[in-house]
């Protein structure tokens, strides 16, 4: 499964970057979301995966004794997911605003600030 997951991660990264390289604002955001998903999955994968044993202490136990999935990457990903949600919502609105104000979806037309003035 690790190989498959690595494949997924690779594809998500590649697709994310590819979308960020497009000229469309909407694609840019999609790219950001994809690559973010890739990063989360990567943490998950590299924290080593364990099947069918969530890190939850059973009802009548006090410690986890059997094999369990490493809870640390999970907690990290949770935090990362939530943060990317904040960023994504902001991104979506930013794009909407930018589109209304600049009146283009073409990122290539948004280069005034880099020109000499």
């Amino acid at each position: 499964m690790e190989v498959l997951l690595a494949l997924m991660v690779g594809i998500l990264y590649a697709a994310g970057i590819y979308m960020m390289l497009r000229r469309s604002l909407v694609k840019l955001i999609i790219g950001i979301i994809l690559i973010g998903n890739g990063a989360n999955l990567l943490i998950f994968l590299l924290g080593r995966i364990t099947k069918g044993s969530p890190p939850i202490i059973p009802e009548n136990a006090k410690v986890l004794t059997e094999a369990f999935a490493d809870p640390v990457p999970q907690a990290l990903i949770l935090t990362a997911i939530v943060i990317s949600f904040g960023l994504q919502s902001f991104a979506i609105v930013l794009v909407k605003r930018a589109h209304t104000v600049v009146r283009t979806d073409d990122l290539d037309e948004m280069n005034a600030t880099d020109e000499d003035s």
Binding site: K51, G52, S53, P54, I56
Partner: protein, 90 residues
């Protein structure tokens, strides 16, 4: 054949095949409404899959996820159909 084997080798494949078929519809469409329906069904299937999975691994906690899925999937369908209509109005 134990129950777990049965779930593993018979039930899961059935659900998986269903998922493939549904996914095919997601890709094919043709209308956006079709995709939305398919997505909705895909999630419902996912709930079933999680149910079976929790039995295979004897971990009832996984059902919690199914619970959330059931609740929230609804909202995305509402939103998407809301969008479909609203877009038309323009």
């Amino acid at each position: 054949m134990t129950l777990v084997d049965y779930l593993y080798y018979v039930i899961m494949p059935i659900l998986v095949i269903s998922a493939i078929l549904i996914f095919w519809r997601v890709l094919k469409g043709p209308s956006i409404a079709d995709k939305v329906i398919a997505l909705d069904l895909l999630i419902t299937t996912g709930i079933g899959t999680i149910g079976v999975y929790s039995m295979i691994y004897r971990h009832s906690t996984l059902l919690d996820t199914a619970l959330i899925l059931a609740l929230i999937a609804f909202l995305s369908t509402v939103a998407l159909s809301y969008y479909l209509e609203k877009r038309k109005r323009k």
